[in-house]
């Protein structure tokens, strides 16, 4: 082994900062790509210091070991018929996951490369170079695994195809991830991707799903997800040193705004991916925690502690967020299930009798609110009137998050029933919530020229202007997915039929 260890020479691997002479700082670090420098002098940025240090040599060693393990689990599984035996609800969860996440992981390598080129400190650029490799890994591994499942289920084609389509969930994911990293500057990416999204939320998605996967017996998926999360913990560390520099130099408000925007947006997409999966798709006997419990542990407790340690505040809309923990993802699930021909997986209704008891225990009052809607659906399903369990119209979609607008609409809830509205440039924009409207109003130029899929429909861009035309425009998700995961077996359950 070489005599010197990392600490001996590490500072020389990251001291490549200097004053540009032949080109200007502004030319080499244009604000659109680097982010505003906020008048912070270059030498201040050069103090950027990563908590978790490593060299190229260490990276190669560590990662080689990880992949050997992941891919050997995979080949063992391929020889078994594990996937065939897995619960239909779990299949929904992973089909949704791969479709929504595989390509964005690869695209995150663009966000990392953005920081590797336009980050204002060599140390940051080095960490981002590792991050670029990590996200390449994550994209590749989450393409390779579903590709092997194509023969069993064409839904897994959406792991590759989704981002090429205008399926509404793909639009929502693209809008979010382009805002967060693909079309973001380096500074924004560090705070919004690595800090807000990765440190805060992906812990939730990945650790939660890994735990559930192990319970379900999907060893392959569980091992894959855990392995990815170890990389994540490392490259997510880019956010903290970046935040520290902003806060030290009197730019806490700017940092706060970046976090507030992306915390809300992350919450929205997590309800869609993780909320539905944890509380409705994962088989009951394998659920470790409810979505709300998980959010309370990982976000409200752990992430916010870290957040406050950095001198930041909870986002201004905190009470709105806390309130939503009780109802938002339930509404989203109902909507996604109801509009199921528009998604590429087969949503598990997750409302059999035992499931409803669990939902009531975790969310007291569920049966009196959401339960009453499901009662109607259940009755129609039991009578074989499936057409009544499918919609005849399109929902309103939020002009920011691109997710259908959901409100609790319960007696006694002090909630706005109407969408939030902004008039801008002669056009009317509708939003699902005060924070989504605020995000738009903060920076309308970033969002205003974009149309939701329903805007496009109403503008005549989708032809024919029918529901079939809309499904074709979305890339035909109903051709592979869109059915109830259990084919309504839960509705024919005699317990459910008899007592409600």
């Amino acid at each position: 082994m070489p005599k010197l260890s990392r600490p001996d020479y590490y500072d020389l691997t990251r001291d490549m900062n200097w004053r540009l002479t032949y080109v200007s700082e502004k030319e080499a670090f244009p604000p659109e790509l680097a982010g505003d420098d906020y008048g912070i002098p270059p030498a201040e940025w050069w103090k950027w210091d990563e908590p978790y240090k490593l060299t190229y040599r260490e990276y190669m060693q560590n990662q080689a070991e990880k992949d050997t393990m992941s891919y050997s689990v995979k080949s063992a599984i391929a020889r078994s018929h594990l996937f065939d035996q897995v619960d239909a609800g779990w299949k929904a969860a992973i089909a949704a996951h791969y479709g929504a996440i595989a390509i964005p992981e690869y695209q995150a390598s663009f966000g990392e490369a953005r920081m590797a080129r336009f980050g204002r400190a060599a140390a940051w650029r080095n960490m981002a170079t590792f991050g670029t490799l990590d996200e390449t890994r994550h994209g590749q591994i989450q393409l390779f695994f579903p590709h092997e499942l194509l023969g069993k289920n064409p839904q897994f084609d959406w792991a590759h195809k989704a981002f090429h389509t205008n399926e509404w969930g793909a639009i929502a994911a693209r809008h979010l991830f382009d805002d967060m990293f693909t079309a973001n500057h380096a500074l924004g990416t560090a705070i919004q991707l690595t800090f807000t999204f990765e440190t805060g939320f992906t812990n939730l998605q990945f650790l939660g799903m890994a735990a559930d996967a192990m319970h379900v017996g999907d060893v392959e998926f569980g091992a894959l997800i855990s392995s990815i999360q170890t990389d994540e913990a490392r490259h997510a560390q880019q956010g903290e040193p970046t935040l520290k520099i902003l806060v030290r130099n009197g730019k806490k408000a700017e940092a706060q705004r970046l976090v507030d925007v992306m915390f809300w947006r992350s919450w929205r997409i997590f309800c869609l991916l993780t909320g539905l999966s944890m509380d409705y798709y994962t088989p009951l006997e394998h659920r470790s925690m409810s979505f709300k419990e998980f959010m309370e542990e990982w976000i409200i407790k752990q992430f916010m502690d870290q957040f406050r340690d950095l001198g930041m505040d909870t986002p201004w809309y905190w009470n709105t967020f806390i309130d939503e923990l009780d109802w938002y993802h339930h509404g989203l699930h109902l909507g996604v299930w109801f509009w199921r021909p528009t998604v590429w997986w087969n949503p598990d209704a997750g409302v059999g009798p035992a499931e409803r008891d669990w939902l009531e225990a975790k969310y007291p009052g569920w049966n009196d609110t959401w339960g009453k809607r499901w009662d109607v659906i259940t009755e129609n399903a039991r009578k074989g009137e499936i057409t009544k369990t499918l919609p005849q119209t399109l929902p309103i979609i939020c002009n920011l998050c691109q997710i259908p607008i959901i409100t609790p609409a319960n007696p006694g809830r002090q909630q706005e029933l109407d969408p939030y509205v902004t008039e801008y440039g002669g056009r009317r924009y509708l939003f699902c919530s005060e924070p989504c409207k605020w995000i738009f109003d903060q920076n309308p130029g970033r969002y205003a020229g974009h149309k939701t899929v329903v805007d496009r429909f109403l503008a005549g861009e989708i032809q024919p202007p029918t529901l079939e035309g809309a499904l074709a425009y979305m890339g035909g998700p109903h051709l592979v997915g869109g059915r109830d995961a259990d084919d309504f077996a839960w509705a024919r359950d005699p317990v459910l039929a008899g007592t409600r």
Partner: protein, 341 residues
């Protein structure tokens, strides 16, 4: 709205991605690399935000708007066909090799036994090269994020990491030398000062700083991969390796030989990309040659500047011969790419 009936649903057993339309069964490399840059040539703009927002405008101008275009980039394959895991396996082997090399030379007290004049030479040419190498890392990752096809993106992601590899080994050497000779060798301020102020470095620094702002994706690729790197690598891997052997620094020579393996892979990628493009659109030859002609003089001046240091070595190489040899390597490489100066 009705749920589709079984007869309209996809029944055919699917062999690969529906967007993979080649006849052959895809390799693992293709499965995980094919057609991932969904935003290239997307209408109305690459990204799912306001079409006029800054990054949309940037990509439309510098990528979709670049003169370096063919109908379809998805037929390109990097000759090495590296997936992430193949890259990691390969470089982990190379890093183990370098570790063993350093270990072996350290046992013989290699750094302490280097002659003072040679160390002084290293201080002025080799140590500050970590700044230069870092720029190559940055520009590589610019090319990768601007590339139209994921096949190109991934190859340049790996290339950026390779540059970081070379830089980090030189940082190790800097520290090892400082412990055996004098403290200044590990002083960042001193090394930076050489990079910033020593006249012989300035043409190279000027070239590299200007390379940072070549934002058109085709020009960035050309300036980096067809001009700067062939010249830089010929100088720092080949010529410096030769000089090191002449001066009894076999460790540096062997390290340079190892970095030359990365260099070969980078050149293979660049050559393959040019030939792919020229096959589809021969008139691109004019565009590429134009950029080569624009950047080559600065690259030539950079080498002329740096070759000055070669006379500091106890056993020197003649500056003129070095410059000539590097120039010839560039010419030869361009010829392989069916291009010319």
């Amino acid at each position: 709205m009705t749920s589709s009936s079984p007869s309209t649903r996809q029944q055919r057993r699917q062999r690969s991605w529906s967007l993979y339309t080649e006849q052959r069964k895809p390799s693992e490399y293709e499965i995980v690399t094919h057609r991932l840059n969904y935003h290239f040539r997307r209408a109305p703009a690459p990204f799912e935000l306001d079409p006029d927002m800054p990054l949309n405008r940037w990509y439309l101008r510098y990528r979709e708007g670049s003169p370096f275009q063919v109908d379809d980039w998805e037929g390109f394959r990097d000759p090495a066909r590296l997936t992430y895991r193949a890259y990691i396996q390969r470089q982990r082997e190379r890093e183990l090799y370098l570790d063993n090399l350093i270990d072996e030379f350290e046992r013989r007290d290699h750094f302490a036994l280097l002659k003072p004049d040679w160390v002084c030479f290293l201080e002025h040419l080799y140590l500050p090269s970590r700044f230069a190498g870092h720029v190559l890392q940055m520009v590589s990752l610019y090319v990768s994020q601007m590339a139209p096809s994921s096949y190109i993106t991934v190859a340049f992601h790996f290339q950026g990491a390779d540059e970081m590899r070379r830089v980090q080994r030189s940082a190790y050497v800097a520290k090892a030398l400082s412990l055996a000779h004098y403290q200044e060798l590990a002083d960042s301020q001193k090394t930076r000062a050489i990079w910033e102020t020593t006249p012989a470095w300035q043409p190279a620094r000027e070239l590299l700083e200007k390379l940072l702002i070549a934002y058109d994706w085709g020009e960035a690729f050309t300036a980096l991969a067809l001009v700067t790197k062939p010249v830089y690598d010929a100088f720092f891997n080949e010529q410096l390796g030769t000089l090191a052997r002449l001066n009894g620094d076999d460790l540096l020579a062997l390290m340079a030989d190892d970095f030359a393996l990365d260099q070969k892979r980078h050149q293979d990628t660049a050559r393959a990309l040019v030939l792919y493009a020229l096959e589809r659109k021969p008139e691109l030859r004019t565009t590429l040659n134009g950029w080569v002609a624009k950047w080559a003089p600065a690259a030539h001046r950079a080498v002329e500047g740096l070759a000055t240091f070669f006379s500091w070595a106890p056993h020197p190489l003649e500056k003129k011969a070095v410059v000539q040899a590097v120039g010839q390597r560039l010419q030869d490489f361009l010829k392989e790419c069916q291009l010319s100066l």
